[in-house]
């Protein structure tokens, strides 16, 4: 397959057609204004649903048959059960049993537990996958990588049409009202399934914890749901906790985290009523703990913390260091408990948090966010999906969306496995440099020259603030030079979407 290519506003050659669908090339941050109207799901009628509200059907196969599952359809799943999810595997086992082929799987993310589905990719039950991949699943067709907000945008704008959404629900009633808060597989919230419930033609709830109507609160409205299926277990809640929710023990990374927290304090960002977002990576967790201590010392209280909640964010809420947690997904069971018990631990969704084609979203209101990156270049462009070796490794998650915070900090090691992380030009462009304000490494802190306000605020600081080129040179000396450029074939493995649905870059096949 040889697609036509076009050079986008970031200078990257990107395909104009992906899996048969025409694409808009990235036009610059805030430069592309969508036209048209949102996707319009079919009008339903109560006549076609049981008057007593009981939408239970015998099993998933029956639900699929009633929903009219056919070859070539798109089926979506969510990832709130993370590496403990059983339902996405059930979906394709059932489709295989039914002899269905060529499905597009549209998960909000996939995890190592879904390696089970590789056989369905190989047998052709699954044609290809569009979604954040955090694991060993291969790519067939052309992969399309989107941020969490980009996924909502794509569904809302009609770019991806979901035929059947299958929503794993830790609690549900026979009408289809559902939440993630209670039951043996409680995972917190179901926000990643919100767009699916609203826009899919057919919606199937799969639960292992059927409660009598009404299931309160209803994070998913039964009024969007067609069928409810009860199974033994939808997942293993213990595996919601992934390896990324442990604080780093590396002295270098602890230093990086501390420098980032000190930067936030000295820049004057850490003040009463401020807000921050930290992910669940080891460095981000350490950052939050350093910041928490500084907040306590200074008597500062945040208005809200955006999360990915863990026991550390929950502690901040319970100790009165923040008014609210605005949570997009719970990363451990303390997060689940807090969300269930505390009305100030608020469940959000990519609609409220990230959707770039809404009337604003929360991401740009956050005072400071700390994020990871696989590479960053001297223009502060960053990569999060490949390494310098060009291999596709990570999904985008909420990363691109979070770049819109008032201050975006990348606390990253200056090299990994003796390969420099700061480079001349990122292998894959995921985040434009104009949105990345600060890079914090164990060898110094680089402030984006565009952010004169931050440079001014820190001009008398004793923090090790240095030009990014200086840090890069030092690291190249240590590592014995620049990283080798991988050789690529023409074949495009995956297109990288920007938050507005345009194509910001693509990933090519590595030459053997």
């Amino acid at each position: 397959m040889k697609d036509e290519l076009v050079r986008n506003a970031a200078g990257r050659l990107v395909p104009t057609i992906v899996n048969g669908k025409p694409q808009v090339a990235f036009a610059g941050v805030g430069k592309y204004r969508p036209k048209g109207r949102k996707a319009a799901p079919p009008i339903s009628s109560c006549v076609d649903y049981p008057a007593d509200g009981n939408k239970l059907v015998k099993d998933l196969r029956t639900a699929f048959e009633m929903a009219g599952l056919k070859d070539g359809m798109t089926i979506s799943t969510h990832h709130h059960l993370r590496n403990g999810d059983f339902v996405a595997n059930m979906v394709f086992d059932t489709a295989a049993e039914m002899g269905i082929k060529d499905l597009m799987w549209f998960p909000s993310a996939s995890f190592p537990c879904h390696a089970h589905n590789i056989k369905h990719l190989e047998s052709g039950v699954i044609h290809h996958i569009e979604g954040s991949m955090n694991g060993p699943l291969g790519v067939r067709g052309m992969g399309v990588l989107r941020s969490h907000g980009g996924r909502y945008q794509a569904v809302q704008d009609g770019e991806v049409h979901i035929d059947i959404a299958v929503i794993a629900a830790p609690a549900a009633d026979p009408f289809g009202n559902a939440n993630g808060l209670v039951g043996p597989s409680a995972c917190g919230l179901l926000g990643f399934a919100l767009a699916d419930s609203q826009y899919a033609d057919k919606v199937i709830i799969v639960t292992d914890n059927l409660v009598p109507f009404p299931c309160i609160p209803w994070q998913i409205h039964g009024n969007y749901v067609d069928y409810v299926v009860v199974v033994d277990r939808i997942g293993d809640a213990a595996k919601i906790v992934s390896g990324t929710t442990e604080i780093t023990r590396s002295p270098d990374r602890l230093l990086i985290a501390e420098l980032a927290a000190r930067f936030v304090r000295e820049a004057g960002i850490m003040r009463d009523g401020f807000s921050f977002q930290g992910g669940a990576g080891g460095t981000a967790l350490a950052f939050a703990i350093f910041l928490k201590d500084m907040m306590k010392e200074a008597g500062v209280k945040a208005r809200f913390v955006r999360a990915g909640s863990t026991r550390y964010t929950v502690e901040m809420l319970e100790e009165g260091l923040t008014d609210y947690i605005l949570d997009g997904q719970t990363f451990d069971l303390e997060g689940v408990r807090s969300m269930r018990e505390n009305p100030n631990h608020v469940w959000t969704s990519p609609f409220t948090s990230y959707n770039y084609h809404g009337k604003g979203n929360f991401a740009s209101m956050v005072d400071v966010v700390v994020l990871g990156a696989t590479e960053v270049d001297v223009n502060f462009n960053a990569n999060v999906v490949t390494h310098s070796d060009g291999l596709l490794l990570h999904g985008i998650g909420g990363w691109q969306n979070c770049l819109f915070a008032k201050c975006t900090i990348l606390p990253i090691p200056s090299f990994r496995d003796r390969i420099p992380v700061i480079v001349d030009e990122v292998t894959t462009l995921c985040g434009p440099g104009e949105l990345i304000d600060v890079v914090v490494t164990e060898r110094g802190i680089a402030i984006n020259p565009r952010r004169k306000d931050l440079i001014d605020a820190l001009k008398d600081s004793r923090l090790p603030i240095r030009p990014i080129e200086d840090i890069k040179s030092e690291v190249e000396r240590i590592c014995g030079g620049k990283p080798a450029k991988p050789e690529f074939e023409d074949r495009i493995v995956a297109a990288i979407k920007w938050v507005d649905g345009t194509v910001i870059d693509c990933v090519r096949q590595i030459a053997e």
Copy 2:
């Protein structure tokens, strides 16, 4: 204006065109299946909204100018502030100041406090009104009366396009997140404004209680909101409590209420885990109190009470007589307090409760509902918008939607002002007889012959169960005959919509 007429499935002559729009005639309960897709609002872009989330503008006029208010547009308001609302009057005062003409006002309901807007109807600022009218507002053009669920359906299905929604909010943040729970004008919830927020081209929040982001809980998502305006007062919360929330003192009506409650008990409906809905009328409140006593005596607990909440429903929740209140609007300040404090006092919306073009709704899951009526006929058809004199008096509210309960009871006096309430044929058909199961009067209880199950269940009862024709004859003897038939002109004053958007009847001009 002489429209073409067609006889619908209920035998009523109804217009095929209303205010220039083609109509579908009522085809029978559950017989009309809509085609097509839901309304698709324009795709927005974050680029057009302040990155800091601050959507505050100076005043309502500025918001209207920015929203592009023009002659002939449709502006919507909600009625959660009931007779204490100030905002709908501000809207048309502001439009008048701006010299705007021919607006369609699309309130979820209007109240006597809106008599202020009569001058704007007379001067042509308002062309006509489509909405439940609970007060003195006249009708111009052809009125269109819809149920609360029908209003959601009409907006969702694109039958009514809202150009600008103006949402009075007792609490809001600068981003537009809003709720009705706190602040000097707290009115409980904002569910009637939900469709407006989702489907209108532009959404303006008007508040007298600006709180810092985030306004929690967000009953209205700021992600749907364009502008936020702060005013001195949005309303007078004391006037949320209308005259309809006092228990009847009439001995006849108390008898009717008691008979209805005894019927529910003897029919076996009052059992553990059951559900009921009672409105805020004096008889309905008395019914709930009788039922409550019977529940206590029998040790029965409801699963949920559908409301219009008042202090009586709140007492049931707090005394453990129901697990949940599923509330569509608060009718007094105790309802507001309870909804704010108690997570089991749940805010709903016409989407969850009533929308007939959803994948089911809650109305049909309610075991028993008691409703008022102005007239009922021997075929159990009922009228709620006119009296036998043909004058248009009432809005439909949730009345039509509630008819889908498993048992619908009309506890009504057999005559009013010496005019029989049970008639040969209702003046205006609002609810088809097949959905009305029991008529309870002070002279006896009539069970719809279609409900053989209820007739059987009550066959040994000592309750005064009688054929509806018998009650009618007795009342006609007392009142000196049947009510005089009003004389109508050809001109149609208002079209009555059924819950599926079809025209079930219309109201004609009374001959002078």
